[in-house]
Amino acid sequence: MSWDIILQQSVSGLTEGMVLFVAAAGITLVMGSLKVLNLAHGSMYIIGLYLCFAVCSQFVGIPAYFYIAIIAGTLGASIFGGLMEILIIRPVYKMGHIYQFLVTWGVIFVVMDLVKMVWGGTYHPITAPQYLTGRIIFFGLAMPKYNLLLIIFGLVVFVLLYLFINRTRFGLIIRGITVDREMMSLLGQDVSRSYTFVFMLGCALAGLAGASVGPITVAGPGMEMMVLLKSFIIMVIGGFGSIVGALIAAILLGLVDSFGILFIPRLALGFPFFLMLIVLSIRPWGLLGRPE
């Protein structure tokens, strides 16, 4: 196998990995601190994607349109998530996990059709601004510029998130809620509001991932489920609540996917699931998580 191909597949895998990381970071954060499994996570991703697409097509002429579109996608997903948390998840916190699952499951279907209703199910690839597209010479090979930028972007998100969680006051609150919700409440924190915020952050990350991947992807049916499942897998392998774990797992998954397609194209489809099965059997709390 030539160096060229290795490089190519690595970049491709890392790109996918980074995008998945951003999405998975959202779901693992919510799961780790709120103990909520948001099945509609993939739906937040496509909301981000479609909003970005909508803003792009509307505002193509305006400078910085692309960045506005990405922010729009992120915010849109975040707000939707906030509404979701307040209206339908809050009532079921105290009722056992079944209802959480069912309620977020319902949202998947609702969003699936909402997207169809608003944008008619047609999707045209987003055109990113000129200076972001095209190829660049990287280690002697011509690589798509946008993909490389996405990789850097993913790392930046990782660093920012890590700093946010571990160095800011709000991050402290998140960590506090994770460990002991009641104690946080006694300490005077408005836990409900914090919950909503964390949930919105999780959805924002999903939306961000969806929006940023716009220029190099095509929206298709079942996309939200693939994103959901892959985010799950990353979350499980990396450990509930662990950002670092999510990064490692996401990169792993991305590389496995891209190299897997080379060797055993058929099995690559199922490898993520096998991986998840294995990890759940041996270390249910993931590589970097904590046993409960």
Binding site: M31, K35, L37, I88, P91, V92, G96, H97, I98, Y99, F101, L102, V103, W105, G106, V107, I108, F109, V110, V111, M112, D113, L114, K116, M117, M225, L229, F232, I233, V236, R266, L267, L269, G270, F273, F274, M276, L277, L280, S281, P284
Partner: protein, 319 residues
């Protein structure tokens, strides 16, 4: 038993008998296309009731029960398609395969709790889905297999219907017996308070395992019936959407009531046929219904009716 209890027993037996009779004579005055729908409803009712053994009855969510449906369906379908064994052996093999798959998945799954449990079974069903998708040569991949040879007797819709009715009735009866048995009582206890169940002498892990395997087996039977009826098998049988629909059946019909999933199956399939005629946005309706029921009607249809009945009886001073 008091007189009131004796009456209750008699009346519920009568209702069951009446319902059975109605189902038996349905083909006489319904068009074939509707008989088909009812047959499908029965199959889904069985699958839902099987799932409900661990869902409503034991309190555990499984996002991958379609996996067992598919294992039963594919085993049966493949054996028949390639003419490897006679019909009855294929049928039994399907059941055994689903049971075995249930035993393997269950062994790992019950060691996990809540979120992990739900995800694990999802992953297991997606593995089946993947295998079915990529093994094109054998399973027909995404296209699936059609025209599976079943014994001539099943070529008539009416005959198929009666066969399905018979098998489903027997299976539901067995599941009912299980529910009413001391084993069923133990499962209820596990649902209500796992910790206390352990401290009164129930080996929680073992009981949940057994319930899981039974659930897998009967779901597999439903899968077999589906293949028997439609003479085709395809990847969608293992799809997580399928699993979600199974859960929804239980929720809609009432997961705390034995007939809930079956009622749910009927209403769901009916809604599916009707709603899709008026709007293309069936998923939107479905999703909204799921959310609505999960928030406000946790007992489902049967739960709602039971509550009405109880209030009715209270008002009449009979409780």
């Amino acid at each position: 038993m008091s007189a009131i209890q004796k009456n209750k027993v008699k009346s519920s037996h009568c209702v069951t008998l009446a319902v059975l009779i109605v189902f038996c004579i349905l083909p006489l005055f319904l068009r074939d296309s509707w008989v088909s729908v009812v047959a499908e409803m029965l199959i889904w009712g069985l699958a839902g009731t099987a799932l409900n053994l661990i869902f409503g009855h034991c309190g555990m969510v499984s996002f991958g029960h379609a996996g067992f449906f598919a294992v039963g369906a594919y085993t049966f379908g493949l054996l028949l398609n390639y003419g490897l064994v006679p019909y009855s052996i294929a049928f039994i093999s399907g059941v055994l395969a689903a049971t075995l798959f249930g035993m393997i998945v269950g062994w790992f799954a019950i060691r996990l709790i809540s979120h992990y449990f739900a995800l694990f079974i999802l992953a297991a069903s997606m593995v089946i889905w993947t295998i079915a998708s990529i093994w094109y040569g054998v399973t027909g991949g995404d296209d699936g297999l059609i025209g599976i040879p079943v014994p001539d007797i099943f070529l008539s819709i009416t005959n198929s219907y009666y066969f399905i009715l018979m098998v489903v009735a027997v299976c539901l009866f067995i599941l009912y017996l299980i529910r009413q048995s001391p084993f069923g009582s133990a499962l209820y206890a596990i649902r209500e308070n796992r910790r206390r169940a352990g401290s009164i002498g129930i080996n929680v892990r073992r009981y949940v395992y057994i319930a899981f395997v039974i659930s897998a087996a009967f779901t597999g039977i439903a899968g077999i019936l589906m293949v028997n009826f439609l003479q085709c098998v395809f990847v969608g049988y293992a799809d997580f959407m399928r699993s979600g629909e199974l859960l929804f059946l239980c929720l809609l019909g009432g997961m705390y009531n034995f007939m809930g999933p079956t009622v749910g199956a009927f209403v769901y399939l009916f809604l599916d046929k009707v709603v899709t005629r008026y709007t293309e946005y069936w998923p939107f309706v479905l999703g909204s219904l799921i959310i609505f029921i999960a928030l406000f009607f946790r007992g489902g249809i049967m739960g709602f009716m039971e509550e009405r009945y109880r209030v009715f009886k209270l008002k009449r001073g009979e409780l």
